[in-house]
Amino acid sequence: MKSRVPSLILSRLLIALVTLTIVSFAVFFATTLLPGDTATILLGQAATPEAIAGLRTAMHLDEPALLRFVYWIAGLFQGDLGTSYANHVPVATLISGRLANTLKLAGLTTLVSVPLALTLGITAAMWRRTLYDRIVTVATIGIISVPEFVVATLAVLVFAVYLKWLPALSFTYQVDSFAGLLRAYAMPVVTLTFVVSAQMIRMSRAAVIETLNTPYVEMALLKGASRPRLVLRHALPNALSPIANAVALSLSYLLGGVIIVETIFNYPGIAKLMVDAVSTRDLPLIQSCAMIFCFGYLLLITAADIVAILSNPRLR
């Protein structure tokens, strides 16, 4: 049975590649459905037919969209993301800085939220139906229900406007020390932690409880295993697969879905770049961003799948 793992992983990777291609086409067709093109958007209200025609020729927008898309795909295979229509800067340059910002924010949020969420979820499962469990459950449901823009705006009002402890804008603040890093990132990271943790807490609690109810755990209990050992050694490995999936799903959100947090804290991440790209109908930039989101998502999901495969002795 040992040969199954590589082939399973390989098939996962293949599926990921097919998904990327399909998404790329879907994004392309969705983009062509949008009214107007880069020339009309750039000229805005000032778009006279002659001006649009002139600019289109200058920008090579007069070629059929499908042809431009094929060029872009061909370039992609050579590692070239193309040039932005809106400002003639290579897409790679535009994205690199923004992606670094997004990864920094996502990384810090992961460092805070995953350990916190797993600890809370697992301990709540261990002491289920106690007061502690109730508090954790009610708090997570409460947090799921509050939209992130409320959390973010309240945080800014309290900590930046009234108490003046933290800067309202995280990016413009100069980060030169660890304390500076904490000050600059405290509010965005806490807001995002609120958003992504709730799901992870609930999923890990449910998964652990489910395995705790299985006969083999009961057997371990009868054998005389201590409660922590029961949970960590016996139950957790079997609960790992659903937990990994919940973590991957929550974290994938950090890559492309944090537009609200980026807007409120004026943080120049990649989600805002994508929104900009859509509003200027900047096809190469839209495609590249979409590919990055899709790639990140697939990477996390595939990683979760691999964790599930490896943690399952029947598949190992």
């Binding site: 000229l43 000032a46 006279t48 001006a51 930046a160 003046k164 309202a168 804008l169 413009t172 804290f265």
Partner: protein
């Protein structure tokens, strides 16, 4: 300092300040305040404060941080392509124009020493000597020729290609003299050259990311859609600026922008929504700077379509628009009542004798009856794309409902509004940005063949007057013609301009020296060069 009337707000402070700037004397102001129910003692305090705010001496140093409201990856330092306020601010910081407009809208010389013409057709521009670009190169006539000629190249994608098209010939006569020949006489050239797009760049520049101009700041960094940082230009020919550095970025979310100001992260939050002014108003240490610069949202009734082809319907609509109410509720007081023509009160050619149509429901009802539209449901297209258009539509709809006229207000998305509804629907809202001269406004919006003729207004007489005034160097005669044209628009065209919208910038009271300008908010976008930070 603090004993002002209880309902006194910072908006009122800025109103008094702007009145002083416009030349009101103490007596006028006292009259204005007393008429508004302010006691004599309190009025004294208010005036003292306003004149003090205007008379302080500049301080050198400090890092200025300001936030605009719009940014995208399309941000550019190419003046020809500048389209958002953010671009204008940056261009003003890094470049200079040949001319610039003062507070009363009169052109003043900047890089030019003089701009003169005998026939309004051939213009001689003498350049200031001793001006250098950031890279050390001296300013010469070639730079000016290159900068102006670029606008004619369609590949550049210039925003003012249409206006620039009238300049047919450029000649560098000598090192410091440029001769510009126009296709037909236009006395407004010095004003046109003061538009932001006509900033002067170095000859041969194709890469604009460095912001190499003659302006007050050198460009340290520029990331489109993120931010720009400028440092004081030590060789600046005007001798400024006051601040050491200038960081500019955009915070598109209105609340976030105001919060950033309130938390002390920035010194200026540009163009805040009238709804957010309350947040700043009650706060100590912050002020509002109000500018009326000619931006307006208008209700357009196409005269070539039903129901606008019935003159009585159009006239009726002009009487049913409650202008005071629109300024008070849709604009929350940040606006001035408009008289249905596009030349704003800050423009020297504004016809102040032309009174706005009074709100008169009875008269409107009679006119609607005469037009035979009473009882019909008339669709009115509105959208967030035109600022405050939705609130205005609500006010007009409510007034119309009172006399039994049903307006079917249809709210459509802002994405694609300008290409799908504007100029096309029979009754719709538009929004027009400030333009420096009546001629540009008229030829863009009201001439028979105008590309943006919002109501499809056609008048040969109007077209003739426009051409005649364009080449006229005699100011007084010109004003007379322009006044008559404004009356024609107000009476005959189908564009209802209920109000000129004020731009409101929220500023920290550390920021001094910010004066309103007719070219737009933030001192016509050029504030960075003039302001200083109090310590």
């Amino acid at each position: 300092m603090t004993k002002t009337p209880e309902t006194w707000t910072r908006a009122d402070d800025s109103m008094v300040e702007s009145a002083i700037r416009r030349g009101a004397n103490r007596r006028d102001l006292l009259k204005m305040l007393l008429a508004g129910g302010v006691s004599l003692a309190a009025a004294d305090l208010v005036l003292g404060r306003a004149s003090m705010a205007l008379a302080a001496t500049p301080v050198k140093g400090g890092a200025l941080k300001a936030a605009g409201w719009s940014a995208s990856t399309a941000d550019t330092l190419d003046p020809a392509k500048a389209s958002l306020s953010t671009d204008y601010v940056r261009c003003c910081a890094f470049y200079n124009r040949l001319t610039t407009l003062d507070q009363s809208g009169i052109p003043q010389m900047e890089l030019a020493e003089s701009v003169e013409s005998g026939d309004a057709k051939t213009w001689t521009v003498k350049l200031r000597k001793g001006v250098t670009f950031h890279d050390g190169k001296s300013l010469t006539a070639d730079d000016v020729v290159y900068s102006l000629k670029r606008h004619l190249d369609p590949a550049v994608g210039s925003k003012v290609a249409k206006i620039a098209a009238q300049m047919t010939e450029f000649k560098a006569v000598d090192k410091n003299t440029v001769e510009i020949t126009l296709a037909s006489p236009n006395a407004d050239l010095p004003t046109i050259l003061a538009t932001h797009h006509f900033m002067i760049v170095a000859d041969g520049t194709t890469d604009f990311s460095k912001g190499n101009g003659t302006g007050a700041f050198t460009c340290k960094s520029f990331e489109p859609g993120v931010r720009s940082v400028g440092l004081r230009n030590p060789n600046y020919w005007k001798g400024g600026p006051n601040v050491d550095s200038f960081e500019f970025f955009a915070i598109s979310d209105d609340n976030a922008r105001v919060n950033a100001l309130l938390s002390g992260d920035i010194h200026l939050a540009a163009s805040i929504n009238p709804r957010s002014t309350r947040l700043v108003d009650g706060q100590k240490g912050f002020a509002l700077s109000k500018t009326t610069s000619g931006n307006y949202t208008d209700l357009n009734i196409r005269l070539d379509m039903e129901p606008g082809s019935r003159k009585d319907f159009v006239d009726g609509m002009k009487y049913i628009v409650n202008r005071e109410q629109i300024v008070k509720s849709a604009l929350r007081g940040y606006g001035e009542v408009g008289n249905d023509q596009p030349v704003s009160p800050v423009n020297p050619y504004h016809n102040a004798a032309l009174k706005p149509k009074a709100y008169d429901p009875e008269k409107a009802k009679a006119l609607f009856k005469k037009a035979g539209v009473l009882g019909q449901s008339i669709p009115v297209i509105t959208s967030d794309a035109a600022s405050s258009a939705i609130d205005m539509a609500m006010v007009i709809q409510a007034s119309a409902a009172e006399i039994g006229m049903k307006l079917d207000v249809q709210r459509v998305p802002s994405d694609g509004y300008w290409s799908n509804y504007w100029l096309k629907a029979p009754v719709h809202f538009g929004n027009i940005n400030p333009r420096p001269t009546p001629d540009i406004l008229f030829s863009l919006l009201y001439a028979s063949e105008a590309p943006w003729n919002e109501s499809k207004y056609k008048s040969d007489k109007f077209d003739k007057m426009m051409i005649e005034a364009r080449g006229m160097l005699d100011q007084a005669k010109r004003k007379e013609i322009y006044n008559a044209m404004q009356v024609m628009i107000a009476e005959e065209a189908g564009t209802i301009i209920p109000a000129y919208i004020s731009n409101v910038d929220a500023i920290s009271d550390k920021l001094k020296g910010l004066d309103p300008s007719p070219l737009g908010g933030m001192m016509g976008y050029a504030f960075a060069e003039y302001v200083w930070l109090a310590t």
